[in-house]
């Protein structure tokens, strides 16, 4: 009995190594995905953010065709980095709607003039309320939404050129 006892420290240490090894192999998740992926978009009705584009309601996201919904803001630097990639996606035939977060019409207009305008509709979410109802915590953030208005995919942070195939595939799968 005493003999077995002597090997106990080694066993405990093995357990400890296992835990730490597991930690190494499974790096900690630093982003928290929205719980709403796979469910219908929340109901909302946002006024136009700029006069040149119509506003956005949840009905615009369920027209039978998958769309990309992009949360952005004129004051957000990664959004500028993301702008050319969104233009590229538009050239691929993707319909992109946008929600501008805590923004002013003149700032949004300037942003579109300077960094390109890939958007079909832009709603203005002055209080971030719609953003929060999507389970999104920052800008930029994008959602792939299928023709029935169900969220299929969430992309946190700016969409970089290497993310394009992933986004295009998600849009294709949503058909």
């Amino acid at each position: 009995m005493r003999k077995v006892f002597l090997w106990l420290p080694l066993a405990v240490f093995g357990l400890l190594l296992g835990v730490m090894g597991h930690g190494i192999l499974n790096p900690e998740q630093t982003t928290i995905p929205s719980k709403l992926v796979g469910t219908k978009v929340p109901a909302f009705n946002l006024p136009a953010a700029v006069p040149s584009h119509p506003g956005l309601t949840n009905a615009d996201l369920a027209t039978g065709k998958p769309v990309l919904l992009n949360f952005f803001a004129s004051w957000c630097l990664p959004c500028i980095a993301e702008a050319p990639v969104l233009e590229e996606l538009k050239r691929e035939g993707v319909v992109i709607h946008a929600i501008a977060i805590r923004d002013k019409p003149e700032d949004v207009a300037r942003f579109l003039a300077e960094h390109g305008d890939p958007y079909a509709r832009i709603g203005s979410d002055v209080s971030s309320r719609v953003q929060i109802s999507f389970g999104s915590s920052g800008v930029p953030e994008s959602f792939v939404i299928d023709g029935k208005g169900v969220i299929r995919h969430q992309h946190i942070g700016d969409i970089q050129p290497q993310d394009m195939p992933k986004i295009l595939k998600a849009l294709k799968d949503a058909q």
Binding site: F13, M20, G23, I24
Partner: protein, 641 residues
């Protein structure tokens, strides 16, 4: 060229570590060939000389800002003050690992030159273990973290050192902890050596004790300094966050504290043989687990070090080899070690066993709390564990520990009478109970833990000096003074923690220049906010005037700093130390209405925390000097304590 020389020296040192390990093994195998074992000592010294030279090469590269070396380019900048250029050499992963092996090799050389207490074969086995240990870290450096790597094209200038680390305290905080960790590795090597030669006894404990004590002093200083750094540099007003990196330094300290006490029992009374060996292994494991947690990035922490899973795997493999190997050796050998001396349930040994038990429980609590997020993630859960778990779980056991700490020195070795012990403890216990009732009456609203903490602190303060009662102070040995001061330091630190937690005042206000507000007993006026320029930063500096009642006003100057390389914003809290605590002011952002955010804390007795930490370290240092002094005078080592 210097970088290549440094790398060459490092390879040579690694080669000598191999020689050291093999000579050690051969010397143990062939006791009839004393030349083999005898050669281990000079080899250990040569290895230390080479690696110290390599480390000097690295420091030189940082001093001259040789940007063609990758490590310098990534962590230094030619505009940096000289102190931070030098400290930049170890303020990063590769450099700190080089510092680690440097200290390790120096410790090995120290043993080789000075150690005369243990048996010759145990010494050879110890140096063999040191050689093997160093070898692993050389492999780590040379194969996956070469500090001397060159860049193909040298950049114009370096990327700079994280501004939060550009602080005199931080220049010395990591090396201090590393000296502590490496001291634990010496204890580990001694334990392995003693297991190999089955020589676990008082001689081995006496040889190990100064290393354990030295390492423990360094860890105490390192943790105390780190806590103060987090307190004034991060601008959050807290002094302990139970952050994984903080826990990584606390766990070896807990194990070292336990080891320090059990090694004394072994040296003095020849008891607790297996337990002391076990603790030496555990203390070093905790140092390695700490390094692993900090370096691998397994846990996210406010301390954003260079994170690299490959390095983590390497450290894990080293742990598997060393700790796994040592524990296997323990399982094989400890059964053949003769049982040590026995003692009665009421005796100083028993109190020290109790102390070890409590320390081990706290260690377990901290270890589980630190690693639980990894386990939970394995089951798909994201959790973050903080003060709501640690404070009650570790705190309550810590209070019991402090009471055991008071009892220990008031008991006799081997056997003591319960009545006599109670009589000696009567005064402190009565004081503690009076404090318990008094605090509840005067301040009924404070939390349970601060309430108990303060009462225990008062009990412990009285109990710590009780061993000096009716003693001839001039003839009291230095190490007894050391113990008294260290134990008193625990009481002082505990009092600081309890009073700060119970009575701190916090205000967050938005004020215009000229406005007056108040926090605790102070009225505080924001006089002005002005831009100022430093050597490698610019800042907005608030001029804040504070006064207590009708007392003389004094000026505080909190800054919101902006560093250019790398571009970072930091806030420099302004702290004014009073006799009874600190006033802590942080300048925040300017709102759209032009008003400035000020965050104000009045933290009563908070300085006691670090004062206590310093007293613990000073007590340890006195004890170390006292022990070495006595051993020098009677070379065979007195069995008295």
């Amino acid at each position: 060229m210097i970088a290549e020389i440094g790398l060459g020296l490092l390879w040579l040192a690694a080669g000598l570590a191999v020689v050291q390990a093999f000579l050690g093994m051969a010397g143990l195998r062939q006791p009839d060939r004393p030349d083999l074992g005898g050669a281990v000592r000079p080899v250990a010294v040569a290895q230390a000389v080479l690696v110290v030279a390599a480390f000097c090469c690295l420091i030189y590269l940082f001093i001259v800002s040789d940007m063609s070396v990758k490590l310098v380019a990534a962590n230094s900048h030619s505009d940096k003050p000289m102190l931070y250029k030098v400290s930049g050499a170890w303020g990063n992963h590769e450099g700190s690992m080089l510092l680690w092996v440097t200290v390790l090799a120096m410790a090995g050389a120290g043993i080789a030159v000075a150690e005369r207490r243990v048996r010759r074969d145990t010494l050879i086995a110890t140096l063999m273990a040191q050689g093997l240990l160093a070898l692993g870290f050389y492999a780590f450096l040379l194969l996956s973290s070469n500090p001397f790597e060159r860049l193909n094209r040298a950049p114009q200038d370096g990327q700079g050192l994280n501004p939060l680390l550009q602080d005199p305290g931080l220049a010395f905080h990591p090396p201090t902890l590393y000296f502590g960790y490496v001291g634990m590795s010496v204890a580990f090597s001694f334990a392995v050596g003693a297991l190999v030669t089955r020589d676990v006894g008082p001689a081995f404990a006496r040889a190990m004790r100064p290393w354990v004590l030295g390492a423990w002093i360094m860890l105490t200083l390192g943790i105390t300094a780190g806590s103060y750094w987090a307190y004034y540099e991060l601008g959050w007003g807290g002094w302990w966050f139970w952050d994984p990196v903080e826990n990584a330094s606390l766990m070896p300290w807990l194990a070292a504290t336990a080891l320090l006490h059990s090694v004394t029992v072994l040296a003095t009374r020849d008891s607790l043989r297996a337990w002391t060996v076990m603790l030496s292994v555990v203390a070093f494991s905790m140092s390695m687990v700490g390094t692993f947690l900090v370096r691998s990035g397994v846990l996210t922490s406010v301390h954003a070090f260079a994170v690299d899973p490959q390095r983590g795997s390497f450290l894990l493999a080293l742990m598997l080899l060393y700790i796994g190997g040592a524990l296997a050796l323990f399982g094989l050998r400890i059964g053949t070690v003769r049982e040590g001396a026995l003692f009665e349930p009421v005796s100083r040994e028993a109190a020290l066993v109790l102390n070890n038990l409590f320390l081990t429980v706290i260690l377990g609590v901290v270890l589980i709390g630190t690693l639980y997020p990894i386990v939970a993630q394995g089951f798909g859960q994201q959790v973050s564990i903080g003060p709501p778990y640690f404070n009650p779980a570790a705190g309550s056991v810590a209070l019991l520990l402090v009471i055991a700490m008071v009892a220990g020195p008031l008991m006799r070795w081997r056997s003591d009478g319960m009545k006599a012990v109670l009589r000696r403890m009567a005064a402190p216990v009565i004081l503690g109970v009076v404090a318990l009732v008094g605090i509840k009456v005067l301040a009924p609203d404070i939390g349970t833990l601060p309430w108990l903490g303060l009462a225990v602190a008062i009990l412990a303060a009285a109990g710590s000096i009780a061993p000096l009662w009716k003693r001839n102070l001039a003839r009291t040995p230095l190490f007894t003074w050391g113990m008294v001061i260290a134990h008193l330091g625990v009481a002082v630190a505990l009092a600081g923690m309890a009073v700060d937690s119970a009575f701190y005042k916090e205000r967050l206000v938005a004020v215009d220049e000229g406005d007056t507000t108040d926090v605790g007993p102070f009225s505080v006026r924001l006089v002005s906010v002005e831009p100022i320029i430093g050597p490698n930063w610019t800042a907005l500096e608030g001029r804040v005037e504070a006064r207590r009642g009708d007392g003389a006003p004094f000026l505080l100057t909190p800054q919101a700093r902006n560093y250019s390389a790398p571009p970072t914003d930091t806030s420099e809290a302004a702290i004014s130390t009073r006799l009874d605590g600190q006033l802590y002011v942080v300048l925040g952002k300017q709102g759209q209405d032009g008003r400035w955010q000020l965050r104000l804390w009045w933290k009563p007795l908070v300085t006691f925390i670090w004062l206590g930490g310093a007293m613990i370290a000073i007590g340890g240092a006195l004890s170390l000097v006292g022990r070495l002094w006595r051993e020098r005078r009677s070379p065979r080592g007195g069995a008295s304590a």
